[in-house]
Amino acid sequence: QAQAKTNFKVAWSIYVGWMPWGYASDTGIVKKWADKYGITIEVTQFNDYVESMNQYTAGAYDAVTLTNMDGLSIPAAGGVDTTAVIIGDFSNGNDAVILKDKTSLADIKGQPVNLVEFSVSHYLLARALESAGMSERDVNVVNTSDPDMVGAFQTPDVTAMVTWNPMVSEILALPSATNVFDSTKIPGEIIDMMVANTDVLKDNPNFGKALAGIWYDTMAVMTADTPEGAAARTAMGVASGTDLAGFEAQLAATKLFDKPADAVAFTSSPDLATTMDKVRTFLFDKGLLGSGAPSADVIGIELPDGKVLGDAANVKLRFTDEYMSAAAAGTL
């Protein structure tokens, strides 16, 4: 299917950890790196996260931003061999379980919980319930679309909600809302990354390198404590519908890997395997690894050290530090 080619399409959707892609595209960083490798990269913004993944899975895009869990359950389970090129950040408070007028996680028992079903919120809820010795049977999940979470929380019949930023900070600003469990309690388990089609990447390693180059260039600008850095953060804030302060609040809840070395270290640590095992077990329980999946092992997950979690003959999700290492080594 894939061959050497020069035109690549990248999809991203609006989320704090992915806003740099829009900024990079607007400010010419993408073009700079694409030119360097003699390719063109078309960066497309999606308003709807699910649609961006679907488009990638259906082959309309070469790379997309998504979370580790969705990477496994959507493209990988959809038969598209996918490689995580860049581990951009992990959620460190961006996702939260919020109760209304109650203050402890244990109070969630028996309540309806509004969340985007089968999303990382659902995973976070499962981990939260697990931590309190409960299971999903103790609550009643109601699917609710993410843009409407803030409005929904203010309605009388909503008492518990799991969602992510920017909705979390909007909701927590309401007097009745309490954060009872958030992703700081499960650090490193909700990972935001840029993935690409493995075949495309294999035939066009320059594409991966360009992506890494773009990302770390942009990181350098946006994390700088300079007027330019503030301007970049302001721009990203506005593009995501808020302002500088709002955006920085979201950034604070995000463990951004602005140095490639940190990302390499995170990717290579054995914790990743543990995390992915939890994730795939969760997905299997929910029947999201394919309707006929006999066990959580049905899809193979390759780790940077070459070890495979699950079916080695059906590896569909690969973690690699190749491109991030190259960035760290300055060999892009």
């Binding site: 899975t57 259906a58 959507i74 038969g79 409407d148 409005g151 019949d157």
Partner: protein, 271 residues
Amino acid sequence: MRWINTKPSRATQIALMLAPFLLLIVAYGVTSAARLADNPADKLLPALQTLIDAINRMAFQPDPRTGEYLLWSDTGASLVRLFSALGISTLIALFFGMVIGMLPYVRALLAPFVATISMVPPLALLPILFIVLGLGETSKITLIVIGVAPAMIRDLALKVLELPREQIIKAETLGGSSWQIALRVVLPQVLPRLITCLRLQLGPAWLFLIAAEAISSDSGLGYRIFLVRRYLSMDIIFPYVLWITLLAVITNFALDRLRIAVFPWSNLEAR
């Protein structure tokens, strides 16, 4: 012979009628096969067998989690919402359509307002709706009503106004009061039109139903479509879309039969 005068025979007509549907199925089959040859796990255009498996799973096997037959429970939930909303819209349209159409004061008061309201995009007002009405069935039904009722009111008020003035005068010379004329002259004549008008709103009603279910729900046809859309499970989406289409076609047809059965004179008029 001119093209406009050539008429197909009965058999040709049936063949022609079926042709585009068959063509669509064949085109689907071919494209699907081609994509699957490329990537056997492709989900966009599942093979026929996959579709049948999915239908079988959704319609005839209980869901392991809840023990329900999903297609039927989804259909039930959606239809309850749809028909409640359409019922409410119909009553609202009937009341406001009649008073706007009959009473000049009310017409001056409400006609421009309803015309403006009918132009407001209801989806944009969803957050307010939720907060005022909560996330339950009420807000879903209300969304459909808001989306559908203003157009019905306008349509019906227009129908009332279109009643020949002669009829109203005649009714007055028969001693009818405003109320009696409303009850015995206007109402029965707009009822069949109300049904026609309801049929026209079936499409929008389904649209708003799906939109409402996409936003917050735990069952319903639209809920299921948007839930599995997350996994690009076209094997479920396609049958669901076909099923919705079928339900809409049947409702449409049944409403028309109902009109003819209940108001036989309304069909005599047509010509």
